[in-house]
Amino acid sequence: MSLSIISANRLRDGRTVWRTANGEWAEDVQAAGALDAQALALGLQAAALQPQTVVDVHEAAVTLAADGTPILTAQREQIRATGPSVRPDLPVSTWGATGAALPPLPSETSTSPFAGIYRYDDYDRQFLRDRAAQFGDQAARRLAGELSEDEFKPLRLMNGLYLQLHAYMLRVALPYGILSAAQLRQLAYVARHYDRGYGHFTTRQNIQFNWLRLEDAPAVLALLAEAGIHAIQTSGNCVRNVTTDEFAAAAADEIVDPRVYAEILRQWSTDHPEFTYLPRKFKIAITGSPQDRAAVRVHDIGIMARRNAQGEPVFQIFAGGGLGRIPVIAVKLRDELPVHDLLRYVEAILRVYNALGRRDNIHKARIKILIREMKPEHFIEMVENEFASLPADYCVLEADVVAAVAARFGAPAFETLEANPAAFSSALKDHRAFRAWVRTNTHPHRQPGYISAVISLKTPGSIPGDVKAEEMDKIADLADRFSFGELRVTHQQNLVLPHVRKADLHAFWSELVTLGLAAGNIGLVTDIIACPGMDYCALATARSIPVAQRIAERFAGPERQQEIGPLDLNISGCINACGHHHVGHIGLLGVDKSGTEVYQITLGGASDEKAAIGTIIGPAVPTEQVPETVEKIVNAYIANRTEGETFIDTYRRLGLAPFKEAVYGNH
């Protein structure tokens, strides 16, 4: 006889709860009553009548231990019952606000310089405060039963609040990945006082808190508002946080400052009356240089700056790219869109999508499917017609409009410096480890004497993208000291100090060494992009973090990584592809094969100018064998490469065969 127990998450805080034999909700799984099919049906019926108490009511299969206590069968449920497997230090428990008075907000006493974030005015500040209050009202109406869960869900999603395995998760927007030291301290405050001490930076240049209580969410949004941060449109079927190049407004090769257009798109899309209930989420990326550092071809709309024959900046427009279960490289709509038409054109694309995108099947609702089903030529024709019929004066980005938005980004007070100071050259000469770190973790700056530096959040063994509250505070201090109080979040889940004086770089690096954040692995095999996977995510089919950790440990030696050279390794815990596995040079997708985790391997993906979807190499391999298999692939590359050839170039020259042979051949 098959047995089950009934589980749910408590509405007010999201905590996992289990239904007891007498119909109560217990925090401890041991208290749950095991039910046969008939009792299960009755129990589910009864639980369905408690929408004000619990959400996501579901059954979980169990067997019985000798003493009669239930043992959960599915790994997902075991993780729900005990907590993330990668954080044995954080077992499931009750956490969060104790009712004790909290210390003053960092924003109240901040003396940080005002970084190059977009400067909010009174309107914007009031808007964020009102928005937090509005969400407080919505949450109260939900708790009081005025809004059904069905109606509340899109509203909470529009404010970044998901329900995950263990709790609510709050996804906070860091618009186009730029943040100030003062804001980072405010995030640390949230992590420390409302969450369980850490946050997770994502590939979409956001930060996620994994342990938020619904009851606390309005207060958290209100305190974030005081630092000019919000969670608006970080989820839901709307235009999401616009992403861009992490070296924006610093990179030597930039044509336009993508921050300005990303901010224009943010303002245009915030609470857009027409495009807030789209068929599905909508992601826009923009890059201001001819080198695509924002993966524009795998976004719903990708925008890339270039120069036309007259030398003026124009935009290349792509649409219909995306990952997920059906990965697609975007089609090009325009080669040279005049800058002043940007918003009009984006609006035309969205209008066609909102009217015609599929709403009958969530897996076919993205714009990529619409474009495929109606054929790109026809789609482009419709967009062009829509664009042509917009009123001539509608949404035009005149130069003065762009200039006024640009003026809101304070320019850092750069000094006139020597391009290559002696202190920098001698530090490079004297310190091998520093030299190696500089080679991988910096990027040329357009201002002489400055450089952009990347703080790796991928120290081998750590959880990619996770940062503790104390580390956030310390990184904020470093940003104040070395980079005008400014930071960036990269889509590879690392942090950047964009404007460091070369003469100070060695001092900065030494501080990172002290903090244990000096891994010199940017762009190397251990700079792994990984989604949260089954340790946190309700949709996961596999645990991605432990796989990332095992691979990073295997390749931890700096010499070994240097020898391998540039290599993007991306891991997703399910087909939704949040870890961008399709566009990793090596991509790993965790799937569940009759109850065991296995990993499907793809090779040859890329997200840059030569964007490509990886090809599956062969049958999936058991999780334990993944690090060893990656090593075989890497060794095959080293054996076959020509002088100076990178992994991806060797793959492009030779195709799958030598790698297949290395993994599946008889050796």
Partner: protein, 159 residues
């Protein structure tokens, strides 16, 4: 159900929803599918009710014969109605009443107005008392000029 105007106030309503196959009468709202062929003489004033997937091009030439256009929302998450209203105002210059009918929620009130809706039909789940505009000083009030970009472009977005 009660009809709410753009101020969130309940208003008297003379319109009736036409029964299937009923002959058009003044103040009737006829489903698009039941609209008599073009060229037939129609009573006035007349309303038409559009399903969310309506193709406006097909009735563009006849928009002048309607005093009211009702737009259906099968589910509040189905945002096609917003684009229909926007397009009616912006592309076709429709000046009559546009009414939201079906599943809409009070949290969508401002968006509906900004897309050009003039009235909406309330539901038992969300009765008239739940619909009100954000206060005049709130940034969310539709009369507010909006964020910098909108101020610079004069909301550039007005329907």
């Amino acid at each position: 159900m009660a009809i709410i105007n753009a101020q969130g106030r309940e208003v008297a309503d003379s319109w009736t929803t036409s029964e299937p196959d009923a002959a058009p009468a003044p103040y009737a709202i006829i489903p698009l599918a039941d609209l008599p062929p073009a060229g037939e003489k129609l009573p006035a004033p007349l309303g038409v009710q559009l399903p969310p997937g309506a193709v406006l091009e097909d009735i563009a030439a006849r928009l002048g014969s309607f005093a009211l256009i009702a737009i259906e929302f099968p589910k509040f998450r189905d945002g096609r109605g917003f684009t229909l209203a926007r397009t009616l105002r912006q592309k076709y210059g429709f000046k009559g009443e546009i009414r939201a009918v079906g599943h809409v929620i009070p949290d969508q009130f401002v968006a509906l107005l900004r897309c050009g809706f003039s009235t909406l039909s309330t539901s038992p789940e969300h009765p008239a008392a739940q619909w009100h505009l954000p206060s005049a000083t709130s940034p969310e009030n539709p009369a507010h000029p909006g964020q910098l970009l909108h101020r610079l472009m004069n909301r550039g977005l007005a329907a």
